[in-house]
Assembly symmetry: C2
Homo-oligomer: 431 residues x 2
């Protein structure tokens, strides 16, 4: 039986979940995996229960406020970082790797912003670096990409990877709530933070997409190259439009690769109600992969929460023990900027759903249609609904796949038309 000693950095939701699994299922893991795990140190800020509400969950002797004590302890094999945020997580991860300790992290922000530096430090000492818990909570998406898709050229990764926004969008879809009301409800239920920016503006999904797309496409996709748009501007009218067209609105993280061209984007997206991602409701996450051999594969589960995330962390710990001193590092060039071999696509090519408020008079449709045609934008569906005022209409256009630059040019001209009161919304769609 091999013995491994684990230190936890942080004892919040994830850290306490990891401690509970190792304590309660340690004997079973030892029996099944031939590995004896022991949490021998837990780093906390201080011993004030106001800052550290989980102190009562583990023996006092395990806690320490000194990272030095942990990093200098030769008996510690694996350091689990579940503090969140950038500092001191970043410094601690680098120092642990430099000390030759394998690091397991659940922190997508620090990981996506410092991956090249972490990987460099890990390679220098042969330490392992595991990050299953950074994306999709308990969903084994990273292991699937690395250990089950080796035969594939992955051409697309597309997912619902933020539970907070998916809860809000589900409420807006199913209960007709406004964004503000749905957000308040999510906050009351503990699904959204007091400051919800990281979730609702798409930053969290962007961090995760950077990791997912880098692994899927074997090329580092830093967060700076990801197009990002949050869900704060969505209105009830957008959900009515989606309903009318048999679509759902989801905050999708999308990566596509064709040859050396890659596009990566996070934005509200309409998908047909028959698409498997459309039925992912509430705080659940799901990630769709397309490989040239496997075709479409989807993984679904709880994208956050104490035990699901801890499940992924413990899975990484066990995996790390089995692969001690044999860590497989990324084989792509992991530099801070995007590789020069990759051509970043900025002119997306997708379906656009555009809603206009127009004056109800002869020539309106002809002028608008001409502006689209001029830019080569072909229309798939057009729905015009007259308003009660008798003088204006709302027109919804669903395009065929089109150049985003072309669509934007067309919309500039359309907005300037005398017959157009407003371009109310433009939402991208995927099939």
């Amino acid at each position: 039986m091999k013995h491994f000693s684990v230190a936890l950095l942080g004892f919040g939701t994830v850290g306490s979940g990891v401690y509970s699994i190792v304590s309660e299922n340690g004997a079973q893991i030892a029996h099944r995996e031939g590995i004896a795990l022991c949490v021998s140190r837990i780093l906390v800020r201080d011993f004030d229960p106001e800052h550290e509400p989980n102190l009562h969950l583990a023996p006092r002797a395990l806690f320490s406020t000194s990272f030095d004590e942990i990093v200098n302890d030769p008996a510690i094999d694996i350091v689990v970082e579940c503090m969140g945020g950038i500092e001191p997580a970043k410094t601690f991860i680098i120092r642990a790797l430099e000390a030759g300790k394998t690091v397991v992290t659940s922190n997508k922000e620090v990981m996506s912003k410092n991956w090249p530096a972490f990987e460099k430090a890990a390679k220098a000492t042969g330490a392992g670096l595991y990050l299953e818990a950074t994306v999709g909570g308990g969903i084994p998406i990273i292991r699937t990409i690395l250990d089950s898709m080796q035969a594939n050229n992955i051409t697309r990764v597309m997912g619902i990877i933020n539970g907070t926004t998916n809860y809000i969008l589900t409420q807006m879809t199913e209960s007709g709530q406004s964004f503000e009301d749905a957000l308040k409800e999510a906050q009351a239920l503990g699904y959204a933070e007091a400051n919800p920016t990281a979730d609702v503006e798409g930053y969290d999904a962007m961090y995760k997409l950077s990791i997912l797309s880098s692994m899927s496409f074997h090329a580092h996709m830093p967060i700076e190259v990801i197009y990002r748009e949050g869900i704060t501007k969505l209105t009830k009218a957008d959900f009515e439009t989606a309903h009318l067209l048999n679509y759902r609105i989801k905050l999708l993280a999308i990566g596509k690769k064709e040859g050396n061209q890659i596009e990566v984007r996070v934005h509200p997206t309409m998908i047909p109600i028959t698409h498997p991602l459309a039925s992912v409701r509430g705080v659940f996450n799901a990630i769709f992969l397309t490989g040239h051999a496997v075709d479409d594969v989807m993984l679904y589960g709880r994208g956050a929460g104490c035990m699901p995330t801890a499940s992924a962390v413990v899975s990484d710990i066990v995996y790390a023990c089995h692969h001690d001193k044999q860590h497989k590092y990324m084989t792509f060039v992991n530099e801070e900027s995007i590789s020069s071999e990759i051509e970043l696509v900025k002119d997306f090519h997708c379906i656009y759903c555009i809603r206009l408020h127009v004056a109800d008079r002869p020539g309106t449709m002809a002028n608008i249609a001409a502006a689209f045609a001029e830019q080569g934008v072909s229309l798939k569906s057009v729905i015009q609904l007259g308003e009660n005022d008798g003088v204006s209409s709302r027109i919804t256009f669903l395009t065929h796949a089109a150049s985003e630059f072309g669509v934007n040019e067309a919309l500039k001209k359309i907005e300037a038309l005398a017959c157009v009161n407003a371009v109310e919304s433009m939402i991208r769609a995927e099939e």
Copy 2:
């Protein structure tokens, strides 16, 4: 760079897919994984293109009709069995393992019927034994159970693991086809065999459930202990009943574990339309796992077909190369019969949907309800619809979770009631 030499046994759909991936993506796999793969021998029955229609897909020099030549060749590291059926697959797998060669197989029937013997032979020489491709085609369900769920006690595995029957059931649901018509269509499209018994009677799903539940519950569940019921008796009326209750009918493979009690069963099952498995349409497969830490996880994808299954086989080959001479065998007692530590549940406890054809007269409902009550079967929903004849009705009962033995006792009494013309159907439901 480590070099590995692979022999394929069988060159049908799966074998030719594996050859194509290794040929076309070999350089990429070498770059990313540090492993050079080479298919150096392909076993075929003979050189008659009528028996072996894929002969033109590989150089003639690779083909052989002699298994001896392959098993005696010390240069061959890995033997991929993708012949299907029991013999000669069984003999070849045992002989390859006895010769110390790692075996990768996509053959669920031979695997589920001979797992203990295969594992014993593998352990004796230290050979690897990999079977990702036996369940769910390209869906990485085996790897997920083994390498991502180590922190969990898996309490439930539930899935759509036969694409043929799922196609037929989707057609019966969406187009109102009869079983016979939907089967004919599936045969015309190549989704069902000329002799469809293995699929429509649930044998194929049973083989896969034996593998899935054994791995999930860490206890060998031989096929003999699995309750099996096919889809051939389902009628249009059953689908109308399901529609009325907002359910879908799927052929589910279900395993549940509570303490040392395990139940394993394959049968038509009603699930609510909001359940993620309900929207798995056509030939797609999906498997739902419930772990005490991770909660619900679902994996979805193509459960069969040349390239998806080959994707799983190649993933096993690469994994085997990385774990050469370090294979992790099952840690449960892998004997032919079920372990004496396990208590096999025969009295299932689930929801039952029962449809009766009854005489429309006073006392009918009272008598039937009394028979259920006597057995402690509590009713959740009752829908009575009078027939056009004015003298008879159809009544559909949806029970709360109940003992199957109790339900069967109640149905015996109900069937004997003068007011009951027929017990038309009894379908189990899951939530």
